[in-house]
Amino acid sequence: MPPASAPEKTKLVVEVRVTFVGLIQRLVGRREEAVVLPQEATLGGLLRELAARYGQELEERLLENGELAAHVTILINGRNALTQGGLTAKLSDGSQSRVEIVLLGPPLMGG
């Protein structure tokens, strides 16, 4: 994915505080990250920006067939991104957003 274009200074921006939970912490080497994006930015835009920073492996961890991978749950301001449009979900209506990216193990089910 190409990196998201840098926001112009005159445009409104949203400051996204990203928290990495699980194995992904090891990949990015940190627990939290601040990302500034245009205010209309979507989750897809955020992930493109993170992929630009951390490389293809991060992208492969988070996406599968162009969608969020099965073992990834992303909370946007606490709410599951899948209930808000997935990759097209808007990050915030204001100037700040909190995104938590959780890498889960397989679901416990069956017998």
Partner: protein, 870 residues
């Protein structure tokens, strides 16, 4: 209290609502407590999912609670040697010492590689919190058992493929004719044990005809209208032949259903792939009205051709159903009879009875909707899934339902685990059905197939693109991970409420795998075959001593198979009595461990993600919560502000409305089609083949075929002629799932049942071999595995089989009357990669043996030596 009670010394007499935990069905119950002692367990008539019914195991739960051999304090292993029958030489230590040790081991392992932590539990009530703990720690290696032996692994991927849900079951409220293949559905030894037993009984009273196809006259078969004994591992031949009769002999199948709701009309090229629109890549169908190919969405289903052969720009193509129909022709009942031993006329009769019962073309009015009415179904479970070709077996039986138009419509085979009111199946790639759960979407769904990639998990699920999970591989991954490119191994293993040494594959293989783990901690309330390998053994609570909410969660996790019109419901477990000794609920312990590891904030975040807590109830990573705080928020998030912990303490459960027609019978309400033709298998197989060849991994990809076919299991193909009998395993309702061998009531029940501890042999076979009831026999597999047992002769068994009930022959139990009694079936299995179904990861339970008499009935000798003795 009444004066009379007080005079009798009774100062307390109360009933406490809670949930049973003697198996994973977690029925709602209430417990009678007198003077601080639990004295009786019974159901609550109005409470789902069991509506007042409690099975023998549930009634016997008190015996586990007050087991005098319970583990009541932390124990440290002092013997560095590990193995089957090796005494751990436990030393009692304090909880402080135990926690220090556990935290140190986990911290060290995490600093090296967090993936080195492996956790396994069958404690259904703790799935969410364990998954959150493992996510916070950073390991993907979490599983709920180790070898999928209850369902056989091959059930769920098929259920996802045809309904988009985790499981399927017959619509017992409306079904009039039911075929059960290798299944105990409705006969206590399966999901929603008591709820479905009630439904099955009512269906039978109503007149539903039940036909059971099984090598053994099981509890289900013994209550059926007809038991059809079948040679093990040949159900697919029966199913394909039955479909051949429907399609090519009777010409009776549901044409409108196939055209509208399956991929039967998709045009298929000679290479097996769909013929696709060059513009958008969507599959094409043949528009019979206009005599040309058309886009899938541009042709009325009624106009799309089911049969024929067409030329399109030099490419020959035929509808998928045409290929299916031709494929079936090779399964003449006469041929199937040779494979299955079922008479050809029986196959034809069953086919006719089934399709007549299906009432093709009929409709029924449900909640304002006119829906197809197909009161007939074919259902399957572990009996046909736990085979080398388990997924093909399941798909074949599933296809019977497609042919008669009975999937997800009234009366037929319907989704049972719809993940709650939020779930809605929908259209995915190629117009095919995908799960529509807004919280998990295609989580664990086999369709569309997942991309094959370098394995990272110890269960190597990355090599199983059409499975739901691959937990059977976990211990083989532990043993041989480097062969699959894994660059790490297990460091710490957390085990709770899953006895994989007894309940999984060959214990010798399991033992070698467990010995590879440098540090193992078990949470348990009793010693068993798996805790024998632990380095640290921590006392766990009994279900009547702990607080655990949301025992089954209809919103994001599977439910107890609610039938149409059933109620969505939450229940919970609460402490009825104080924990024995120093027992602590294991997830509370792990929450404290998370705090000490400095990952409690991540645990809370992961918990928010797994439990899907709503606004106002999520856990703040910067705060600290007690377990009761967490439970309270959890309840309120799902059930509303007025239904918090205090509400549950008083009521025990909370109903949230009934399952609607759209939830029960979603087939007509969404566009996602069901693949009768498994084109997606071709690409998935190519993907697996490419990867495994590039990485020099020997891997069987031959089952990735678009049209199911019968294939013999290795045992059938490779066993020398003198190994002339199959060993088959059947479930015993009161010994199914967990916590049985310790329980004196259940073991007593087993001793009073002549069918439990002996091994069954067909009476005619016994006469032929000169074996009579009561003889001691030796059973030997081609690889030299041997067990001894007492023979029981019966007419209720296929002549080519030996019947070994339940998981017996236990070698670590404090109950003297259980130790060494019966045969441990799993000890006869080959737990190797080449015995796995490489589609579903099912472990093949097909074993052939030879038998010889070692002691005549009545001949005096010392008690039979158990197969394994410490």
């Amino acid at each position: 209290m009444t004066d009379r009670q007080l005079a009798a010394g009774i100062w307390e007499d109360v009933w406490i609502p809670t949930a049973c935990d003697m198996c994973y069905n977690v029925c709602t119950v209430r417990v009678h407590r007198v003077n601080g002692v639990a004295v009786k367990i019974e159901g609550i008539p109005e409470a789902p999912p069991n509506y007042g019914k409690v099975c023998a195991k549930g009634n016997a739960g008190l015996m586990n609670l007050y087991n005098p051999h319970r583990i009541t304090s932390p124990l440290l292993r002092t013997n560095s040697q590990k193995g089957i029958g090796v005494d751990p030489k436990w030393k009692e230590i304090s909880w402080d010492e135990a926690m220090d040790l556990l935290v140190e081991k986990l911290r060290l392992a995490r600093s090296k590689d967090p993936r080195g932590l492996v956790a396994a539990t069958f404690d259904r009530c703790s799935y969410f919190s364990l998954r959150a703990f493992m996510a916070a720690y950073g390991s993907p290696n979490v599983t709920n058992t180790s070898a999928g032996f209850f369902c056989g692994n091959g059930v769920h991927p098929v259920a996802y493929t045809i309904t988009g849900s985790n499981d399927v079951h017959p619509d017992l409220k409306l079904c009039n004719y039911l075929l059960l293949f290798g299944s105990s559905h409705g006969f206590v030894a399966q999901q929603n044990a008591m709820g479905l037993a009630r439904e099955m009984a009512e269906a039978r009273i109503r007149g539903m005809k039940l036909v059971v196809i099984d090598p053994v006259c099981t509890y289900a078969a013994s209550k059926a209208d007809e038991w059809i004994p079948i040679r093990p591992g040949t159900d697919t031949a029966f199913a394909l032949s039955l479909m051949n009769v429907l399609v090519n002999e009777l010409g009776l199948y549901d044409v409108p259903y196939l055209k509208k709701y399956t991929n039967s009309t998709y045009l298929v090229r000679p290479d097996g792939h769909y013929l696709r629109d060059p513009k958008d890549g969507r599959p094409l169908v043949w528009d019979a009205r206009n005599g040309r190919a058309g886009a899938l969405d541009g042709v009325e289903p009624t106009d799309a051709a089911l049969e024929g052969s067409f030329q399109l720009e030099g490419v020959k193509a035929a509808p998928a159903f045409q290929l299916f129909k031709e494929h079936l022709r090779s399964y003449l009942p006469e041929r199937a009879s040779e494979i299955t031993t079922i008479p050809a006329e029986t196959i034809r009769r069953v086919a006719r009875d089934l399709v007549e019962a299906a009432r093709l073309g009929s409709t029924i009015h449900v909640e304002g909707h006119d829906l197809p009415f197909r009161p007939a179904a074919a259902c399957w479970y572990r009996g046909i899934s736990a085979h080398k070709h388990g997924m093909l077996n399941g798909m074949s039986v599933a296809q019977i339902n497609l042919l008669i138009g009975a999937v997800d419509v009234p009366g037929g085979l319907i989704n049972s685990t719809a993940a709650g009111p939020n779930w809605r199946p929908q259209e995915g790639p190629d117009g095919l059905l995908v799960p529509g759960n807004p919280f998990t979407y295609h989580h664990a769904s086999p369709i569309p197939p997942r991309k094959v990639k370098q394995p990272e998990t110890l269960e190597l699920v990355e090599l199983f693109p059409v499975s739901t999970y691959a937990r059977t591989m976990l211990w083989l991954g532990v043993l041989y991970g480097e062969k699959f490119g894994l660059n790490y191994g297990p460091q710490v293993f957390i085990q709770c409420r899953t006895n994989m040494m007894a309940a999984s594959g060959d214990p010798e293989v399991m033992a070698e795998a467990l010995k590879r783990v440098p540090f193992m901690v078990s949470f348990a309330d009793q010693h068993d075959e798996t805790t024998e390998f632990a380095d640290l053994l921590l006392p766990d609570t009994h279900a009547l001593e702990r607080l655990v909410p949301v025992v089954f969660n209809p919103y994001v996790h599977y439910n107890n198979a609610p039938l149409p019109d059933d109620e969505w419901c939450f229940n919970f477990q609460q402490p009825v009595v104080k924990p024995m000794g120093q027992a602590r609920y294991w997830m509370e312990v792990l929450t404290e461990v998370a705090d000490r590891l400095g990952i409690i904030g991540d645990f809370y975040t992961a918990f928010n993600a797994t439990a899907h807590l709503e606004d106002g109830y999520r856990l703040d990573p910067s705060q600290k919560y007690t377990w009761e705080d967490i439970c309270d928020r959890w309840f309120k998030s799902y059930c509303g502000e007025e239904h918090g912990l205090e509400y549950f303490r008083g009521h025990g459960y909370c109903k949230l409305g009934k399952r609607t027609a759209e939830q029960s019978y979603p087939r007509v309400f969404h566009k996602g089609r069901i693949p009768l033709y498994l084109e997606h298998f071709i690409g998935a197989g190519e993907d697996v083949r490419k990867f495994t060849q590039e990485h020099n991994i020997p891997w069987d990809t031959s089952d990735y075929i678009p049209l199911t076919e019968w294939r013999p299991c290795p045992a059938q193909k490779e066993s020398p002629a003198e190994y002339d009998l199959f060993v088959v395993n059947q479930k015993v309702p009161f010994l199914t799932l967990t916590f049985t061998s310790e329980n004196p009531w259940l073991v007593d029940l087993a001793h009073h049942n002549a069918k439990v501890f002996p091994v069954g042999m067909n009476a005619a076979t016994g006469r032929r071999k000169g074996i009579v009831a009561g003889d001691e026999i030796e059973i030997e597999t081609p690889s030299g595995k041997k067990v001894r047992a007492i023979a029981r002769l019966t007419e209720g068994l296929h002549p080519e089989c030996l019947a070994v009930p339940a998981i017996l022959g236990r070698w670590v139990t404090s109950n003297d009357r259980a130790r060494g009694q019966g045969v441990h079936f799993n000890s006869l299995l080959e737990y190797t990669v080449d015995r796995l179904d490489t589609l579903s990861a099912a472990l093949d339970a097909c074993v052939k043996v030879r038998v010889r008499r070692v002691r005549a009935s009545g001949q005096k000798e010392a008690a039979i030596a158990p197969y394994r003795s410490p």
